[in-house]
C-alpha cells in the first residue's frame, strides 16, 4: 500500500504546524519523519491516520493506493497506529488488548472466538510474549508494552503502520534491541510503515528513507546515506550529527564551513594551507573512536574524532599544539550572509 500526502497545511490557532507538505511513501517502505519537537512530524502522522483534519483546501489530499481518504474517518482507514505512550487499554489483559480490533468488528465480518484466539497467539509469538497473555499493561515493562502496542496495531492487518516516537519512552539499552527487532519484523511482514522520531541515530538505523522536517516544512527526503552524506542544507547537516563550524573566506567571499568531527584530521606539522593551528583541551578515548577537543587560535571550540590506532601513533596529550585539517573534501559550504 503506497501513501501519498498532497499539499497538507495545518494551523493550531496562530501556530502553523504544517506548511503545504507533500510526501510519497512506496509500498513496503519504512520511512522516518525526523525533526525536532514542534517540526510538525507528529501532526503529519496524525493527519495520515485521520486523527487530525488538515486545514481545508482544494489541493490537499491523503491518498492510499490511489484511494482518496481525506474525508474518511480514522475508524474506517484501517491504519495501525502505535502511540508514543502506547495507549494500551489499562483494564484489559494483553490478550484482550490485542484481540480488541477483531472483537469490535460488525457481526458479519467478525472472526469466531477460535480464529481470534489463534490470531492473537500468533501475534504473541511474533512479539515473543506468549507467556504474558493474561498480564495487565501495568504489570509489563516499557519494552513489553511497546511490543504489545505493536501487536495490537498489527492484529487488524492494517493497510499501513504508523509509529509515533515508538522508542521515545524507553531506556537506551532497550531501544537498541527494539530498533533491530523492528527492522527484522518489517522485513518479515513488509507493511508500509511511517515512523516519527526526533532521534537521528534511530532514523539512520531503521529507515529505508528519511524525511527531515523543520518548522512545518520538509527540509530533505532521501536514503539515510543521502541525508547523512549529502545534506541539502545547514539544518539537515546540523540535525543529523555533530558538526564543527568554521568561518572562512573562500574565493574572496565569507563562507560558513561545516565539517563532521570524523572528517577532520590531526597533524603535528602544518601540512597544507587549510590546516588550522589549535591546542588540545581534552581527550576522551572511551568509545568507538577517540574524541579530541581543541581550541583554535581564534578561540573556536573544535571536536575531532580519530581512530584509536591513530591516537596511539600520535601520542597526543592535553596542552599539545597541533594542526587540524579537513580530511578529503567532504566539506559543507553554506552561503554566509552578513
Amino acid at each position: 500500500m503506497s501513501i501519498e500526502v498532497r499539499n497538507i497545511s495545518k494551523s493550531f490557532g496562530s501556530f502553523r504546524a504544517l506548511d503545504n507538505v507533500s510526501l510519497h511513501v512506496e509500498q513496503g517502505e519504512l520511512v522516518s519523519l525526523l525533526g525536532p519537537s514542534g517540526s510538525g512530524k507528529t501532526t503529519l502522522l496524525r493527519i495520515i491516520a485521520g486523527l487530525e483534519t488538515p486545514d481545508p483546501s482544494q489541493a490537499s489530499a491523503v491518498i492510499f493506493d490511489g484511494e482518496n481518504l481525506t474525508t474518511l474517518s480514522a475508524k474506517d482507514r484501517g491504519v495501525g497506529f502505535v502511540f508514543q505512550h502506547y495507549a494500551l487499554f489499562r483494564h484489559m489483559s494483553v490478550f484482550e488488548n490485542i484481540a480488541f480490533g477483531l472483537r469490535v468488528r460488525p457481526k458479519a465480518t467478525r472472526p469466531s472466538d477460535d480464529v481470534i484466539k489463534a490470531k492473537v497467539m500468533e501475534l504473541l509469538r511474533l512479539i515473543q510474549l506468549e507467556n504474558l497473555a493474561e498480564r495487565f499493561p501495568s504489570q509489563l515493562s516499557g519494552g513489553q508494552r511497546q511490543r504489545v502496542a505493536l501487536a495490537r496495531a498489527l492484529a487488524i492487518e492494517p493497510r499501513i503502520l504508523l509509529l509515533d516516537e515508538p522508542f521515545g519512552a524507553l531506556d537506551a539499552k532497550v531501544r537498541q534491541g527494539l530498533r533491530r527487532w523492528l527492522r527484522r519484523l518489517h522485513s518479515e511482514i513488509t507493511v508500509t510503515t511511517v515512523l516519527v522520531t526526533h532521534d537521528q541515530d534511530e532514523a539512520l538505523e531503521v529507515s529505508d528513507r528519511i524525511v527531515v522536517m523543520n518548522h512545518g516544512k520538509i527540509e530533505q527526503m532521501g536514503t539515510p546515506e543521502e541525508v547523512f552524506h549529502k545534506p541539502a542544507n545547514e539544518f539537515v547537516m546540523d540535525f543529523l550529527g555533530q558538526v564543527n563550524l568554521f568561518h572562512a573566506r573562500v574565493e574572496g567571499q565569507s563562507r560558513k564551513l561545516m565539517v563532521r568531527p570524523f572528517d577532520l584530521d590531526i597533524v603535528t606539522t602544518k601540512s597544507s594551507d587549510s590546516a588550522v593551528p589549535a591546542k588540545i583541551t581534552r581527550i576522551n578515548a572511551a568509545g568507538s573512536a577517540v574524541k579530541v577537543e581543541l581550541t583554535s587560535e581564534a578561540g573556536d571550540a573544535i571536536l575531532v574524532e580519530i581512530p584509536h590506532d591513530k591516537h596511539r601513533g600520535l601520542n597526543l596529550k592535553v596542552g599539545d599544539a597541533v594542526f587540524v585539517s579537513p580530511r578529503e573534501s567532504k566539506v559543507f559550504f553554506e552561503d554566509y550572509a552578513i
Partner: protein, 276 residues
C-alpha cells in the same frame, strides 16, 4: 460551532448538556430575575430595603463572614495536621471532616441545637459563664462554621500535599529561620487555596438554611437569616416579596461564583508559573 476533537459523540453529548442545563438551571434562574425586574421599582425597593430584610442581610453577612474567618484560621491547622503529622486515628479524623457534606443539613441543625442549647452538653457550660449560644447570632456562627469547615480543609489539603519538603529544606540550608520559611515559602504557596476555601465557605454560608434555622431562634431583626425570610414570605404567599429578596440572594451567589472562578484561575496560573 467549530469544535476540535476527533472522537464521535460531540453533538449528542454537547446538545444534551446544554439542553439539560437550560431547562433545569438557566431558564428557571433567569425567570427569577425576570420576575423581580417586572415588579415596579418602588415596590421592589420597599421589599428589598425593608428594615427586616436589611437586618437579615446584616445577620447573614456578619455570621457568614465570622464563620468563614473561624474556618480560615482553624481550617489550615486541621489540614496541616491531617497531612503532615502522623498519629493513630488520623485517617478516621480525616474521614470525619466530610461529615458536614454527608449529613443532611436538618440533622446538623437539630444536633447542633441539642449540643449548644442551654440544657445541652456544651451549651449549659457556656451559658453558665455568660455565653449563650443557641438562639443568638453566635449559634448561627457555630452552624455556619460547621457546614463551612470541609470547604477550607478539602481545598487546602492538596496544596499542602503539593508543598515540596525539599524546598523547605533548601531554604533552611540557605540559612532561613523557621519563621522566614513559614512567612516566605509556606504562606505564599498556600494563600491561593486558603482564599479559595474561604470564599467557598463564605458562599455556602450565605445561602445556608437547614443547619441554621433550628439553632438561630429566627427572631426577626435579630437572628433571622435571609434564606429564612424568603421561606417566610413564601409561606405567607407573598410571592412578590420572596421573588425580590430571592433575586438579591441569587445576585450575591453569582458575584461570589465569579469571584471564586477568578480566584481559582489566578491560583492555577500562579502554580503554573512556579513549575515552569
Amino acid at each position: 460551532m467549530k469544535r476540535v476533537g476527533v472522537l464521535p459523540g460531540f453533538g449528542l453529548t454537547f446538545g444534551f448538556t446544554v439542553l439539560w442545563l437550560s431547562a433545569l438551571v438557566l431558564i428557571p434562574l433567569s425567570l427569577l430575575f425576570f420576575r423581580a425586574a417586572s415588579l415596579n421599582l418602588r415596590e421592589f425597593l420597599d421589599v428589598v430595603l425593608d428594615p427586616r430584610a436589611v437586618a437579615s442581610y446584616r445577620v447573614t453577612l456578619f455570621c457568614s463572614l465570622a464563620a468563614a474567618i473561624v474556618n480560615a484560621i482553624a481550617g489550615p491547622i486541621v489540614a496541616w495536621t491531617l497531612i503532615r503529622v502522623h498519629f493513630p486515628g488520623r485517617k478516621l479524623l480525616d474521614a470525619v471532616v466530610d461529615l458536614p457534606f454527608a449529613l443532611p443539613t436538618a440533622v446538623s441543625g437539630i444536633a447542633l441545637t441539642a449540643v449548644y442549647a442551654k440544657n445541652g452538653i456544651l451549651g449549659s457550660k457556656l451559658a453558665a459563664i455568660g455565653i449563650p449560644v443557641a438562639f443568638t447570632p453566635l449559634g448561627i456562627i457555630v452552624a455556619l462554621t460547621f457546614i463551612g469547615l470541609p470547604f477550607v480543609v478539602r481545598t487546602m489539603q492538596p496544596a499542602i500535599e503539593d508543598l515540596d519538603p525539599t524546598v523547605e529544606e533548601a531554604a533552611s540550608i540557605l540559612g532561613a529561620s523557621k519563621w522566614q520559611i513559614f512567612r516566605r515559602i509556606i504562606v505564599p504557596a498556600l494563600l491561593p487555596s486558603l482564599l479559595t476555601g474561604f470564599a467557598l465557605a463564605f458562599a455556602r454560608a450565605l445561602g445556608e438554611y437547614g443547619s441554621v434555622i433550628f439553632i438561630s431562634g429566627n427572631m426577626p431583626l435579630k437572628t433571622e437569616v435571609t434564606a429564612l425570610l424568603i421561606v417566610t414570605k413564601l409561606e405567607q404567599f407573598d410571592y412578590a416579596g420572596a421573588t425580590a429578596i430571592g433575586a438579591v440572594q441569587l445576585a450575591a451567589s453569582f458575584v461570589l461564583l465569579f469571584a471564586i472562578n477568578g480566584l481559582q484561575w489566578w491560583s492555577a496560573r500562579r502554580t503554573e508559573g512556579t513549575n515552569a
